[in-house]
Amino acid sequence: MAGTTGMSGSVRERLRLVVVALDDSVPGIRSLVLADAGGAPLPPFTPGSHVVLEVPAGPPGSARPRPTANAYSLTGENAHPLDYRISVLRAREGGGSAWVHDLAVGDRVTALGPRSGFAPVQRAAKHLLLGAGIGVTPLVSHLRSAVRWGRDAELVHLHRSGAGAHAADLAELAARGARVTTVTDRESFTALLDDLLRTQPFGTHLYCCGPAGFMELVTAAAARSGWPASRVHTESFGVEALDPGAPFQVAVAGRTVEVPAGTSLLEALEDAGLAVPNLCRQGVCGECRVSVTVPEGGRLVHRDLYLDDDEKRAGRCAMACVSRALPTSGAAADLEVHL
């Protein structure tokens, strides 16, 4: 691995990749095949992993004035990958996904190597995989691994009719014995969901990925049916922009810094002349991690895709680019940040 220091464990290999194939057959969704630019084999990855693509800045005055980075789930073979496969929903004009949709075969891209945060639980009795729309992407590698190792798994994909991402992959896995159900309207899904949640074998783990509303629906239904939170895993790639949040105050380096609504903690620290390493500025790369202390009565809202559930519960660190504190009544500051 590249030269690294210290305990962070956050250093990731930078991969130079080249686009070798494109598939635009599903409206609004582009699937890409990426290979190592030098022809080297790519690092194997844990099912459910994603890569972070570096997106260059657009021309001056465009919707993308600075470079950014987007996380995409890897959907292809994970144990001995000859290429990396991702699928990208075209979202906001001028954003990272629009840039991906403009790539051509032969274009070079740079990615931070695979990161796992949504891994199968080897001891699970069964994996119940629920995806909506483009949210099926991390579940495809789960299902492939389950088929390879003979693990019990069942996948349900909710999508608009005619817009099923990875339908061919799922059909192939179904032909090899996987249980796959496709649903194209929300009412049928809700009915099926209640049924599924009540009939799973003891020790089943639920994996859920899709838009925020979908995940709220699933996690709330799971909680109602008595599923412990430790058996419910969520991933929220490809979702809409974060809300601006309420203003709050942080105590940092012996001063108080105001974070207005619509401004991130990272931006507020930068405006105050306090440098924090960063890259993606949207909670996926892990670069901007800061240590924090939440005061008595305070609350931290993480909103990132980097920390795992346990780290979020512990509340000792936050991703400055997306995490916010809720305003507290009384405390001198709503959050302490230790740089």
């Binding site: 691995m1 030269g3 690294t4 220091t5 305990m7 464990g9 956050s10 250093v11 990731r12 290999e13 690092p43 194997p44 990855f45 844990t46 099912p47 992993s49 994970n78 144990a79 001995h80 000859l82 190597g113 695979p114 990161r115 796992s116 891994a119 199968p120 639980v121 080897q122 001891r123 691994s145 390879r148 190792w149 430790s230 795992d308 559930d309 346990d310 780290e311």
Partner: protein
């Protein structure tokens, strides 16, 4: 019994590749992890370029492991949910062997479907074509088979609900602990007997670090103790065989003492297995008699200082309380009494110490 037969002389590569563990004149526990695969220069050679290390003890140690496993099957254990992790571990170990010693080990993909690999181990004369996940294509269970070919002990940790469990492994060379007893325990439970590290946060920090380890990252650390005799198996199970040596060694003459007492260093590697998401912990044990430590002045002085300064609770835990003072005195005195021949001219240059 091994402990009582005086080793004749140490093979040159064991001295040259010895991972001398002390960077200061005193030693305390710390979360001492660093990125792996970078060589560390010592006054007489280097260590640490690769994740697995093959040396001149290869055949002897693997034969010893086979005998120990035969006598005590509890040194190999795999909980049922660790099957994928075992295949994962096997592939990584074979790959690391091939990258450490491309002259002796070869791993090739012959068919991406399956996938199917061909493996050649020239040191043991093994040639095997296998399909990942298909037990019948291997002569033994995957982790057991890999451990017939690496000198490292292996523990696989499953991660679930934010906790790490030692759920599989092959450990034949444990330093005063029992793999069979620890199987299935959490990382914190496994470290229960170690003094200081819990209150000082060493083990909680290590746990946080391991929980966050990503595939592709490899870290290492060292740990050390003293062992009487060139004896790899000092597991709890065989205590009656080696325990009495700790008192016995106080009564041998100085020459025998220097040849019997060994600095025992474990180079431990930590990495995340890609397919299963389990963590692989490798323990590679190196033994060097004080008589050889003394051939390198910087090592001799530093080891004497560390043994003298080591707090009593740590010496007690390591099981060296009875003889560490004599070991320190032996190292200090042997300058004035014996002047052993240097291993190589550079061995005597104290300014090159680590």
């Amino acid at each position: 019994m091994t402990a009582l037969s005086l080793p004749t002389s140490t093979a040159a590569d064991l001295l040259e590749g010895f991972p001398f563990p002390f960077s200061h004149d005193s030693y305390r526990y710390s979360t001492n992890v660093e990125p792996a695969r970078s060589p560390v220069a010592t006054p007489v050679g280097q260590w640490g370029a690769s994740v697995v290390t093959v040396d001149s003890e290869y055949h002897r140690e693997l034969a010893e492991r086979a005998v120990l496993l035969e006598r005590d099957p509890s040194r190999y254990g795999v909980l049922p949910h660790m099957e994928v992790a075992c295949w994962d571990a096997m592939l990584v170990l074979l790959r690391e062997l091939a990258s450490a010693r491309p002259d002796a080990f070869h791993l090739d993909v012959v068919d991406a479907e399956g996938p199917t690999y061909r493996w050649r181990n020239d040191l043991l004369g093994i040639e095997q074509t296998f399909v990942v996940g298909r037990r019948e294509t291997l002569p033994a269970e995957p982790l057991a088979w890999a451990c017939q070919q690496v000198q490292e002990d292996v523990v696989l940790l499953d991660q679930r609900s934010g906790e790490l469990y030692g759920d599989a492994g092959v450990v034949t060379f444990a330093a005063d602990w029992s793999f069979g007893f620890d199987l299935g325990m959490t990382f914190l439970e496994i470290h229960g007997p170690v003094p200081r590290v819990h209150a000082e946060g060493v083990i909680p920090r290590a746990r946080e670090f391991i929980l966050r380890l990503q595939p592709g990252q490899v870290y290492r650390r060292t740990n050390w103790t003293l062992t009487v005799g060139r004896r790899l198996d000092v597991a709890t199970e065989t205590y009656p065989e080696w325990g009495p040596d700790r008192a016995m060694v106080l009564h041998v003459d100085d020459d025998a003492f220097g040849h019997l007492v060994h600095l025992r260093v474990e180079v431990q590697h930590l990495l995340r297995l890609p397919e299963s998401g389990a963590v692989m912990f490798l323990i590679r044990t190196h033994l060097l008699p004080l008589a050889d430590i003394a051939r390198v002045p910087a090592w001799r002085e530093r080891t004497a200082a560390v043994l003298t300064e080591l707090p009593q609770d740590m010496a007690d835990y390591k099981g060296i309380a009875a003889y560490r003072s004599r070991a320190a005195a032996w190292l200090r005195d042997c300058t004035s009494t014996t002047t052993p021949a240097p291993a190589s001219p550079s061995a005597l240059a104290p300014e090159e110490s680590r």
